[in-house]
């Protein structure tokens, strides 16, 4: 059986020392190993950004796709071979800025993949511009007088659109993150895990310390029912979104089980030859 080591690569990640994305990578490696997955069974599909480099650093198969397009790419991979475990990953700009539309539609489909967003409230790779999750008033090279827009409410958006698994994690707590990733990967359907993953180089506001001070950990208390979507919304509102843990979980069929052309055999494993007689019959239906 594969161990965490098998999900490591030879090359050292090129993230800045201290970057929150190290924790995300480690948690993912641990989670898939502890689920007993083999490296060749897991595909990590990422967008472009510092966060997007996770596909290179993760020891499974990878697809480092285009900026903002991790979800449709990952959707294709999953539908191409439903037997694979598919992880989509990327940054807040990638996923909630340019990629926002795809998020809503992936949620609606309940496509069976785990979507990890490394939310550092900044555009890291392009050296520090305001991102859609930057707080109102956040100053950066592109908002020297402070951001004028409300931050996007991506988790809430996923919740209202019926996402079947929604959680938040924090790079300062790899243990919890690992557990959440395990749960998410195990979940049959679309899982969003929004990870507070500090950018130590460009975001001097939302630092590890800042998150430690402000983020509340959602205890799996009796009172909190992760099956209750409204409770999740209300927790998010009350904590201004600064909460970690599983916010919502719902069992329902995954897209590949109910879509047009759903089949128990993966598309990539089909016998592609169509009997000549079948083909002729199809031809004759055009008459």
């Amino acid at each position: 059986m594969a161990t965490m080591k098998d999900f490591r690569t030879e090359n050292k990640p090129t993230w800045c020392p201290g970057c929150g994305d190290f924790a995300v990578l480690a948690a993912l490696q641990k989670a898939v190993a502890s689920l007993g997955l083999e490296p060749e069974e897991v595909v990590c599909v990422s967008g472009i950004g510092c966060s997007g480099k996770i596909a290179q650093h993760f020891g499974g198969y990878g697809f480092h796709s285009l900026h903002g397009r991790s979800l449709p790419t990952a959707t294709g991979v999953k539908l191409g071979n439903q037997d694979l475990t598919v992880i989509a990953a990327g940054g807040d700009g990638d996923g909630y800025g340019i990629g926002m539309g795809h998020l809503v539609h992936a949620v609606r489909r309940n496509i069976d993949l785990t979507y990890i967003v490394m939310d550092n409230q900044i555009y890291g790779l392009t050296t520090g511009q305001t991102s859609p999750t930057s707080k109102k008033g956040f100053r950066s090279k592109t908002s020297p007088e402070g951001a004028a827009e409300e931050p996007v409410k991506a988790v809430e958006t996923a919740l209202v659109n019926g996402a079947s698994f929604v959680a938040q994690a924090f790079s300062g707590d790899v243990k919890q993150m690992t557990v959440l990733f395990e749960e998410a990967v195990r979940h049959r359907g679309f899982s969003l895990i929004n990870c507070f993953s500090p950018c130590v180089t460009f975001n001097k506001v939302n630092t590890y310390d800042w998150f430690r001070e402000n983020v509340i950990r959602l205890k799996d208390r009796e009172e909190y029912d992760s099956g209750d979507r409204d409770a999740a919304l209300s927790v998010m509102r009350k904590t201004h979104g600064l909460v970690t843990g599983i916010l919502c979980r719902e069992e329902r069929p995954a897209y590949h089980e109910v879509m047009t052309g759903a089949h128990s055999v993966a598309a990539s494993k089909m016998d592609l030859n169509i009997p000549r007689e079948d083909m002729r019959e199809i031809f004759h239906s055009f008459r």
């Binding site: 030879e10 060749e40 480099k53 198969y61 697809f63 796709s65 294709g76 809503v104 089949h263 592609l272």
Partner: protein, 592 residues
């Protein structure tokens, strides 16, 4: 060649399409060779629409220049179409709506007033206008009274006996009326039934593309609705699921294209289909397919651009974008099938090419070829040898023989092709990277030597493909011609007929039709054009995009003239001939 051309026109939503389809389908089933062309508008009800049918003694990909019979449901059908009527043509019009048809009286038509709407109402409802019109048609072209009955039963059977009966009544009323008042007026050419005595296949380029893909093992289509490409999706929805093929209606074309790339990466033969605006949105993903060397098939059914343009009109104006779209440089293949059968064959072949060369393959048709249903001999399509060659892959055994981490996905090879692993294969790990990457595909890498190696490897991949053998069809003398007509894709039938007519007039004429424009079959084109005194490049666009490519890749600047059309309609044979008749001087107009 002996032919019958027939058209019915009226307002959209009035049953024009069904009238045309009943006529065309029935004739086809009787063994006639039929080509049908729909003229329609980008709105749902109202607006002029018409359906033209041409019946020929042998297969043809063209709806004809003139018109023998025109059935007009309203005056605007007459306004829009009277010019097409040949001398001695028959104009049937709904006298319940048009008291006296209005058109400049300089042509000699047979006017046939028929109270179509009244008769339909008598039979039960004005929506049966189409049936009355069908009956009238049958009588005037000498079809038996009950020719349409089988189709009526098939179409309306589910709705009950009564519906079938009243439709039949409407047809018969039309038939009887017309036979009595006007008699048979036109001749149909001889039918040529299939061996089984039945009709030919009757299908459009779009349908053929979907079937070709299916036959070639395509098991995933992601697409977004767009005229005139949506039928590809419908056909896939009808036939893919039975073989485990999935069809996704994506949220947009960006997602559609990149989903299909993801599925290809995962080892499934996958494609997308679209038209101009959607094709433009796919450009970034096409680059992704190129740089990650992920096989991909994109069908672009061209329509009139730019922008939203004329969504229901045909054009060949995306050639440039297909050749040059996306930033940076990627290897790509652009196929331009010239017939419905080639739509089937090249759709199938596209998947082999995409996998062999690990690059995007664009299959280009247009509204005219994509949406026109036409008779195709069963043997012709059935005779296409569909090979499924899952080439350029690395096997499990080869991977097993390697240590972990030894396999290099983007190994620099002489051919430029590097065997591809598929997720799930042990020891085959790699990262498909939109960034420049090293051979091992484990890291993005900015080293300049590596860059040159990877870039060159990608760009030389297609050198191994013999497009010169595949990429064209030529008809005419090989050594020297007075005139050689050149086109690509859907214009083959009209250019072919024009060439035939020139030859009838004694002009030594060549006809070169390109079936692949990227890579450009320049050796063949150079050879075939070098003996042509005049080269007329016939294109459905306004700037002469193909001519530009010929000049760039081959030369002959001073012998090329542009025969262009960009009004939304396909060429007529006469238009091509008119251009050829025009004086030599236009040749020097190329420099603009």
């Amino acid at each position: 060649m002996p032919q019958l051309t027939w058209k019915v026109g009226g307002a959209q939503g009035e049953g024009i399409d069904s009238t045309g389809e009943i006529f065309a389908t029935t004739l086809n089933r009787l063994g006639f060779y039929v080509f049908s062309y729909r003229h329609f508008m980008s709105l749902i009800k109202g607006g002029h629409t018409n359906y033209k049918v041409r019946v020929t003694p042998s297969q043809s990909g063209y709806h004809g220049d003139e018109l023998d019979l025109l059935i007009a449901f309203d005056q605007s059908t007459i306004d829009e179409n009277w010019k097409e009527l040949s001398e001695g043509g028959v104009l049937i019009y709904d006298s319940s709506r048009i008291s006296s048809p209005d058109f400049p009286g300089d042509k000699n038509f047979l006017l046939c007033p028929v109270p179509i709407t009244e008769m339909a109402k008598e039979a039960g409802s004005s929506i049966m206008r189409n049936m009355v019109a069908s009956g009238v048609t049958a009588a005037m072209v000498g079809l038996p009274r009950h020719a349409f009955d089988p189709l009526i039963v098939e179409r309306f059977g589910k709705k009950g006996e009564k519906v079938v009966a009243s439709n039949k009544v409407a047809i018969q009323a039309g038939y009887d009326f017309a036979l009595k008042r006007f008699g048979q007026r036109k001749e149909l050419p001889q039918p040529q039934p299939e061996e089984d005595g039945g009709g030919h296949l009757f299908l459009s380029g779009n349908e053929a593309v979907a079937l070709g893909a299916l036959a070639a093992g395509c098991r995933f289509l992601a697409a977004y609705p767009i005229t005139p490409a949506t039928e590809i999706m419908y056909t896939a929805l009808n036939h893919f699921p039975q073989y485990g093929g999935k069809v996704v209606q994506a949220e947009d074309e960006i997602a559609a294209c990149i989903m299909a790339i993801g599925a290809n990466y995962a080892g499934t033969r996958a494609m997308t289909s679209t038209s101009g605006p959607g094709f433009t949105l796919m450009q970034e993903s096409i680059g992704l397919s190129g740089v990650t060397e992920t096989p991909m098939v994109i069908v672009n059914v061209m329509r009139s651009g730019p922008g939203t343009g004329l969504p229901t009109k045909t054009e060949q104006s995306d050639l440039n974008e297909m050749l040059y779209g996306t930033h940076g440089e990627i290897p790509r293949i652009v196929l331009t099938p010239t017939t419905v059968t080639e739509c089937f064959r090249y759709a199938a072949e596209a998947f082999n090419l995409a996998e062999t060369y690990q690059c995007p393959v664009i299959l280009a048709t247009d509204l005219f070829l994509g949406m026109s249903k036409q008779s195709v001999p069963f043997e012709e399509i059935d005779g296409v040898q569909v090979r499924i060659e899952r080439a350029s892959r690395i096997g499990d055994a080869d991977l097993a023989a390697m240590g972990n981490g030894e396999y290099r996905r983007y190994r620099v090879t002489e051919s430029g092709i590097s065997p591809r692993s598929i997720p799930g294969q042990k020891n085959g790990r790699f990262v498909a990277m939109s960034n420049e990457h090293d051979e091992g595909a484990t890291e993005e890498i900015e080293d300049s030597r590596n860059r040159v190696e990877q870039m060159s490897k990608r760009m030389r991949k297609l050198d191994g493909w013999d497009v010169d053998a595949f990429g064209y069809v030529y008809d005419g003398p090989e050594e020297s011609t007075e005139i050689t007509l050149v086109g690509f894709g859907s214009t083959r039938a009209q250019i072919g007929e024009a060439a035939a007519r020139l030859r009838e007039r004694g002009v030594k004429t060549g006809h070169l039709q390109l079936r692949a424009v990227k890579p450009f079959p320049e050796t063949s084109v150079c050879r075939l054009l070098s003996g042509a005194s005049r080269i007329v490049v016939v294109e459905n666009n306004s700037t002469g995009q193909l001519a530009e490519v010929i000049r760039a890749r081959v030369g002959f600047h001073d012998r090329i003239t542009h025969c262009l059309k960009f009004d939304g309609d396909p060429f007529t044979v006469q238009e091509i001939l008119n251009h050829c008749n025009r004086s030599q001087e236009v040749i020097n107009g190329w420099r603009r």
